[in-house]
Subunit: 208 residues, 2 copies
């Protein structure tokens, strides 16, 4: 039987660089797969069903909600988005590590259902640097900039709900991605996981 | 201020290969230092004070016990051995990671005083392989072999008191040492450590 994979949940304020880090990680390690969400919004040009999203209609989505088929879901501007439990479970049972890049609200919901997950928070090098990054992304007005910055500032307090925090220093996306790889390797050695593993129990805890 | 180092406590049954793994780790990573024990036994040929051990007399050792200067100590065949708190603390405050290879009784004592430590258990690939390794090391009689093997077998149950377990597959000492390196890197990203770090608090949890 293949060793089970891990669910890696990655969050962080806008401007922390989590998207780029996750992409690096996928390039780096072929055992890591991105989780694919279901959505009711229409595909954009170039988006492929089963690659970018599973595109489904609202009837199907609500049926899946009723069947408790999502690790989490949310409605955003009239469209539904959700993380399908089965896809994640299938990957993990095949031994793949599944990365899920998700906002804090989503991550907290997943933590309730999937305490075995590894929760990683990506931080900017400093609040000053976060200010610059949000400015660079182009906020239209001082007011909208402040709204975004204050929201990011509040989000950072949720770091205490996560297992790990990685500071993403400027232009060191590779380093941050490597840290996630090391966290995955370390988590696979955690005794709290191993003592629930059938093979481990068989070899070390029963035989005489 | 330098980032604090970690105390890494390594145990495992005789024949698991922990000694070789620790040596590999020291060669691999110059930031890792071996803890140096105090002992009242006389230096053997080629042993150097302050390198292999701190050689001290019984009067000094008992004074240190009275002053609570050991993380743990034990008497073995009339000689005392102990892990000096100050040496470990000094290294850690300089940002070094300190490896302490120690038996399970010692490790459990350290866990009481130093819950921040990272406790790693080294396992053989299987109990069958452990049998072979103990046999190879040469036990004089079947009885003494059985005593050693049964003692190793009992020790393995203590794995549940450790944070991590590493299976040392035959001739893959480098791989096992690399796993410890990854565990160290991951542990330095643990939120439970970071939120007690002065610098981290200053940057992320107070500034507005």
């Amino acid at each position: 039987m293949a060793e089970k994979g891990l669910l890696i949940v990655v969050s962080g304020p806008s401007g922390a660089g989590k998207g780029t880090i996750c992409k690096k990680l996928l390039d780096m390690d072929s055992n890591i797969k991105m989780s694919i969400s279901c959505t009711t919004r229409l595909p954009r040009k170039n988006e492929i069903d089963g690659v970018n999203y599973f595109f489904i209609d609202e009837f199907k989505f609500k049926k899946m909600i009723a069947e408790d088929s999502f690790l989490e879901y949310a409605e955003v501007y009239g469209n539904y988005y959700g993380t399908p439990k089965k896809y994640v479970d299938d990957m993990i049972n095949q031994g793949k590590d599944v990365i899920l890049e998700i906002d804090i609200q989503g991550a907290l919901k997943i933590k309730e259902k999937y305490a075995d997950g590894v929760f990683i928070f990506i931080l900017p090098p400093s609040m000053e640097e976060l200010k610059n990054r949000i400015k660079k992304r182009g906020s239209e007005t001082e007011e909208s900039f402040l709204r975004r910055f204050n929201s990011a500032f509040k989000e950072i307090n949720y770091v205490s709900c996560y297992n790990y925090a990685i500071i993403n220093y400027e232009d060191k996306f590779d380093e941050a991605a490597e840290k996630i790889e090391k966290i995955i390797a370390a988590e696979k050695c955690r005794v709290s996981r191993l003592i629930n593993d059938v093979h481990f129990k068989e070899v070390f805890l029963n035989e005489q």
